[in-house]
Each structure stands twice: as structure tokens, then as C-alpha cells.
Symmetry: C2
Subunit: 179 residues, 2 copies
């Protein structure tokens, strides 16, 4: 059965193919529900996808948890970023004592019957924007133990340690065991 | 044709009946999509409702725009409130120079063919929580020209000036002209 990655992002598709091998792409415009729990966001999307399509699907959702804000915004990061920009978020967090953050990728996989989740996380600190990569919040996230932000790293450097990569590898291990 | 208010909130239903007269209640659990534009959130809900039900429907969405945060969080206020509480939001806004906020209710009405929107707004200031009413962000919103927060006002006082009441009255004027 074909394994379909539901994404509109060519970079994520490339990464998934490099780890998982044979992956097809399907770009469905699925509504994202308002939730702080990424598993709920993903579950609704997978239900919607399996209504109209047959096969195996996976989807990923990346969220960020700011300790100063008690974990807000989680999966709602894209809206905070749209309102404040990377610099606005960095300035906001600077006003708090705790600058720590966790980036998390959740992959949800549906074989048409069950849904399985695979989680990858990385801890870091929110800093003033550095690096000219303008991929989301990469310029303000500095992983623990590194002196570069994600935006200052090469794609290879970032992918070697990233939350998304960790989730992908767990997903691959699951697939290897079940195929 | 029956006019159905989609809500699970008895207080809002009572207020709607007192202004609009003959209103039926239908409590559908419709997904809220992630959007900063309340009209998009409402449109998706009304589409979902009219898929499975016949008749006239309306729904309301209340959002809050914090000037210090460039208008964030809008309709996402419930999640910011869930993470930080009223005191956490007040403390966050205190860190900025601009404490102004606008509360907005959008009512979306579908007659089965078209969707019409009615907007009510009120400006105010975010203050430390006052008043023992624990309805959402009422304890931290002090309307312009008043020295009480919404939570310190009686229901009558609040309803006389509120964003929701203003939207309801515009909606009533529209219905009166079209029936």
C-alpha cells in the first residue's frame, strides 16, 4: 500500500523521502482545528483525509512551548509568529525570566484503521533573531548545547538534531517493525 | 422558518431571546478552525451546520485584540486564557507600554444561501483582575469611560454596553428589514 505524506512543503517531503524511502506526496488543504494538543489537530486532519482517500497517510505538526508563557502557544505558534514576528516573540520572552522553550514535532500515521503518533522534541532557548534563514521561528530558537540558532545552521546540521528528524526516525522504526 | 442560535451557552441564548424574540437553540459541537479572522472561523462553522441541517442559523464568535501584541490573540483568546489565566494575561500586558484592547463580537447568519455578518466592538484597557465574575476575560477588561471591569458590573450594566449586545442589535435591525 502506498504511504502518503500529507504536506504542501517540498523541504519536508524531501526529508521524509530521505529517511523513509518510498513516500508519495498528497497536498490536501485540511482545516486545522483550534487546540493546544497537536494530537487532536492531527487526528481531525487524518479523519478528514481518510474520509475521501484510501491508503496509508501521515502528517506532521510542529509546535513550540514557551516556558515563560506556561507552554503557550504550542501548535498555535504560526499565529503568534504572524502577529509579532520573530523579533516580537524574542522581545516578549525577554520580558520574562525564563527563556526556555521546547520544539516538538508530532507525526500522526493512519493505516486506515488506527492512528499512531511519533514524537520528537528538542529543548532550547529563545534568543534575539540570528541567521538569515527565514523558516518560521528558526532564527530565535537556539538548541541546548549549541551556540547557533537553527537559522544559523546548515540544513544538514539542523536535520541531524532536529525535533522533526527525531520523530521521523521513530516513525521509520515503527514502519520497519510492521512491514 | 425557524431561526436557530448555535450555542451551548444558556446566558448567551437568554440574551439573544431577549433581543431577537423567537429563537430556537441548537447545540452543535462544530470544530473551530485556526484563524485570526473570526469571519473565517464562523463561515466554516456555518458551512458545517448547513450541511446537515435545514433552516436559518446564527453563531457568534468573540475575540479580543491586544494592542501591545499587535492585535494578537483575536479569536484565539480562549487558548491564551487557558495557558496564562486572567492574571497571567494582565501581567503580560503590563510589561508593554500599550494596555489598550478591543473586544469584538461577530455574529454570522446563514439563511441557507448567503452569510451575513454583524459586528459589535468596545474599546477598553487590560487591568489586573477585579470582580469575582469568572466569565472569561471579564475581570481584566475595563471598558473605556468606566472605572469598573466587566466582571465588576451587573449583567444589566454589562449587557447595556457590550460588544455582544451591539452586534445583536445590528443583527436584529437586519432581520426586521428582511422579514
Amino acid at each position: 500500500m502506498t504511504l502518503n505524506f500529507i504536506t504542501g512543503n517540498p523541504g519536508k517531503l524531501r526529508e521524509a523521502k530521505s529517511i523513509l524511502g518510498d513516500v508519495e506526496n498528497i497536498d490536501l488543504d485540511l482545516p486545522e482545528i483550534q487546540e493546544l494538543d497537536p494530537q487532536k489537530v492531527i487526528t481531525e486532519k487524518l479523519k478528514e483525509a481518510t474520509k475521501n482517500h484510501e491508503g496509508e497517510f501521515f502528517i506532521e505538526d510542529t509546535s513550540i512551548y514557551l516556558q515563560g508563557l506556561n507552554g503557550f502557544p504550542g501548535p498555535l505558534i504560526k499565529w503568534l509568529l504572524q502577529s509579532l514576528g520573530t523579533e516580537g516573540i524574542a522581545n516578549l520572552i525577554k520580558k520574562y525570566d525564563n527563556h526556555k522553550a521546547t520544539a516538538k514535532t508530532v507525526i500522526g500515521y493512519s493505516n486506515g484503521k488506527d492512528i499512531h503518533f511519533f514524537v520528537g522534541e528538542i529543548n532550547g532557548t529563545i534568543v534575539q533573531p540570528r541567521g538569515d534563514n527565514d523558516f518560521g521561528w528558526d532564527p530565535i530558537f537556539q538548541p541546548e548545547g549549541y551556540d547557533k540558532t537553527f537559522a544559523e545552521m546548515s540544513t544538514e546540521e539542523k536535520n541531524a538534531i532536529s525535533h522533526r528528524k527525531k520523530a521521523m526516525i521513530k516513525f521509520k522504526e515503527f514502519l520497519d517493525q510492521h512491514q
